[in-house]
């Protein structure tokens, strides 16, 4: 442990800054995010600040070569209502808000976050895994580690087995689709829980996927966390992310022969004709009106 602060260290944690008289305001929020790093971040126009090589928040060998890669988490917003091409005369159509990008946290992280990150870095070094951590983000008192896709299995195994970490329970595996035009739009999210130390942590993998025909791939963590079996099947079903090494990656909620992955942002809500017993049932908006 190098830079240890007592509990309640504030750098990077935004909890203490929030909860004022009007915490939400009426404004769009990315520019209002509390905490110094957020403001600096917004001033940079939503791109991740440059980091020195290998000097990512003291991660040593674990930092990805060449500093951080931006981990986008949102689309740019224009105007007040998101209306386009309507001859908006409100005067607000010129508003431009950059996409929200989670800001990298700076040392000291505060609380137990420094300990966990240091322990993880040490444990990964010990096991010969390098370049696993892309970014550390602390937001609303929650620790998020952005992990390189091909190292997620090693990181999960280390998280479970290392005596100083002991994240025994994988609460959930899921994905987030940040939208069609967002680079690295597909993120796989792992929520781990250490019952020994009573800590929760989020691992996030931003997948290099351009939205093309080929599905994005990520290694499966079922061999480390058997509970991830159904979670990964659901994520495949809903987002079309292929978990390499999963024992039986089949659809789980949708019918086996369903086309498409419903929770992708380019998949519509409703309007899908459904085939049932050989007959095709049109989507609700195309059915006969009975009035």
């Amino acid at each position: 442990m190098t830079e240890r602060t007592g509990p309640g260290g504030t750098a990077g944690t935004s909890k203490d800054d929030k909860g004022g008289a009007e915490p939400t305001g009426g404004e769009q929020s990315s520019a209002e995010r509390s905490g110094p790093d957020h403001e600096e971040h917004a001033a940079n126009g939503g791109t991740a600040p440059e980091q020195g090589e290998g000097e990512l928040a003291g991660l040593g060998d674990q930092a990805v070569e060449g500093g951080t890669r931006p981990a986008p988490a949102g689309r740019t917003r224009e105007g007040m209502f998101g209306v386009r091409g309507s001859g908006d005369t409100s005067g607000f159509s010129g508003l431009r808000l950059p996409a929200y990008v989670p800001a990298p946290a700076e040392r000291p992280f505060g609380g137990w976050f420094d300990d966990v990150v240091d322990d993880l870095v040490a444990a990964l070094d010990e096991r010969g895994t390098r370049g696993a951590i892309q970014q550390v983000t602390i937001d609303r008192d929650e620790l998020t580690l952005y992990i390189a896709a091909d190292e997620i299995l090693n990181v999960c195994r280390t998280m479970r087995d290392d005596a100083s970490l002991r994240f025994e329970l994988c609460s959930a595996v899921s994905a987030v689709d940040y939208g069609v035009d967002v680079p690295q739009r597909m993120h796989v999210v792992y929520h781990l829980l250490s019952m020994t130390y009573r800590k929760r942590i989020r691992l996030e993998v931003a997948l290099d996927w351009d939205g093309g025909e080929a599905n994005p791939h990520v290694p499966s963590v079922v061999e480390v966390y058997p509970t991830a079996d159904w979670h990964e099947r659901e994520t495949w079903d809903m987002f079309g992310i292929v978990f390499d090494g999963h024992p039986a990656l089949t659809r789980i909620l949708m019918p086996d022969d369903w086309d498409g992955h419903p929770q992708r942002k380019d998949y519509p809500l409703g309007g899908i004709p459904v085939e049932y017993k050989g007959a095709e049932i049109p989507p609700p908006d195309e059915r006969r009106a009975y009035s």
Partner: protein, 439 residues
């Protein structure tokens, strides 16, 4: 094959896996004869009274022993998570409440806890106490359904009638307090939809009196009953390491001896100030899970009493007018709607109030960008909600970590190698609610 005559409605058919028979009742001997071995793959459900909802089980049997068991889900998938992305943050409550329909208030609780964390606000004291009280009432109802349907599936029909009778008391009370029996949509980001009715205290006292009288009946009816014990003891065994590997939480984990309860380990809404125990057992079997649930009903009753005693008058919604719902509800001659004073104000007096009302109701409030994972202890375990906001008035992603979904994965581990009748007991002890499993 010696079917006497072909059944018109359920004919057999040939597949690549062999002959598929549809059994509509009758004798096994008419179907299974000497030319087959004892290995039978049977499909059970999704429309079967003993599978605890629209759950389909595919069981491979050697005689009466289950060699492999798999569950097939998705029959109740309604796209709750996808739908939430097309509604405001407040409207999301009415979607998530429909996931686990036996514990609707817990879905709402996990969701609003997440939204409040994203917003950086906290509900007022009175709202938190009411939330705790309502959740514990709901927990009793949910556990009673588990006992009732579990009893029914095992043939203990008196358990069913007793359980549903008591659950009716729970639903009556919830209807009186929140306006609806199920799918209340009563918790809102920032507080509650409205305050409790004026005579809530009498109703709660009546409820507690009834339960103090009747809860002992379950011990008389089931706990010591030899048949009940024989059906459950040593059945559906899942020790603590199996629970952790498969992600099982809630009564399953506590029946294996680990006192893990979100209300205690990560307290929220003042749970740390209530005096209650986390019941555990060490049997790790169906009977232990039954005992844990009955004990939890008693503990919930304790919490309800404490919450009712400490409930002070005060606001039930945050002061922030940018988040708080603009209107208060009241019951008029034509049903429930906005209060007359509010309508009078926005229609007759204040244009700004009308604009504010319109904006907040149609567009909703902006939630600062970021993501959170929050969880509450539902009757079935850790109910988590992962929320992602991009700063807009609608969520980018709402994911529910449903304990039913996760716990159902333990079914093969509990039932493979056992008797086919014990599969029913194991599934009943997991207590999956398919609305939550499929969402």
């Amino acid at each position: 094959m010696t079917t006497p005559e072909t059944d018109l409605y359920a004919p057999e058919r040939e597949t690549t896996e062999g002959t598929v028979y549809t059994v509509t009742g009758g004798d096994w001997d008419s179907i299974v004869d000497s030319e087959h071995d004892d290995r039978i793959v049977i499909n059970m459900g999704p429309q079967h009274p003993s599978t605890h909802g629209v759950l389909r089980l595919v069981l491979e049997l050697e005689g009466e022993t289950v060699t492999q068991a798999r569950s097939v889900i998705g029959y109740l998938h309604t796209g709750i998570e996808k739908n939430c992305e097309y509604r405001t943050w407040t409207q999301g409550v009415t979607f998530v409440t429909r996931a686990d329909y036996l514990a609707p208030l817990f879905n709402e609780a996990a969701y609003v806890k997440g939204v409040e964390k994203l917003l950086g606000i906290e509900a007022p004291e009175r709202a938190q106490v009411i939330r705790v009280m309502l959740m514990e009432i709901n927990r009793i109802g949910s556990h009673l359904v588990c006992l009732a349907t579990g009893g029914m599936e095992l043939g203990a029909l008196t358990g069913m009638t007793a359980g549903f009778r008591e659950r009716e008391e729970v639903l009556h009370l919830l209807e009186y307090l929140t306006g609806l029996r199920m799918n209340h949509a009563f918790f809102r980001p920032g507080g509650l939809a409205q305050d409790l009715p004026e005579d809530w205290r009498e109703k709660i006292d009546e409820f507690i009196k009834v339960f103090d009288e009747r809860l002992g009946d379950y011990d008389k009816l089931l706990t010591g009953q030899p048949i009940w014990k024989q059906r459950l003891e040593g059945v559906g065994y899942l020790p603590i390491d199996g629970c952790l590997a498969l992600g099982a939480t809630g009564p399953i984990l506590r029946s294996a001896g680990l006192a893990w309860d979100q209300r205690v380990v990560e307290p929220y809404w003042g749970y740390e100030t209530y005096d209650f125990e986390v019941p555990t057992e060490t049997g790790a079997d169906c009977y232990s899970r039954y005992l844990v649930r009955v004990a939890e009903i008693h503990e919930s009753l304790k919490i309800i009493k404490q919450a009712a005693d400490r409930l002070e008058p005060g606001p039930v919604m945050v002061e922030d007018r940018k988040v708080a719902w603009p209107a208060q509800l009241s019951i008029g001659s034509d049903g429930m709607g906005n209060t007359l004073e509010h309508v009078r104000k926005i229609m007759g007096q204040s244009m700004e109030s009308l604009i504010h009302h319109f904006k907040l109701v149609t567009e909703g409030f902006h939630v600062p960008a970021g993501q959170v994972y929050t969880c509450v202890e539902s009757p079935r375990g850790e109910l988590g909600v992962h929320l992602v906001s991009d700063g807009g008035t609608r969520p980018v992603r709402v994911h529910m970590r449903e304990p039913s979904f996760v716990n159902l994965q333990t079914m093969p581990a509990m039932s493979e190698g056992g008797m086919v009748a014990d599969v029913i007991a194991a599934v009943a002890s997991i207590d999956p609610v398919m609305g939550g499993v499929d969402r």
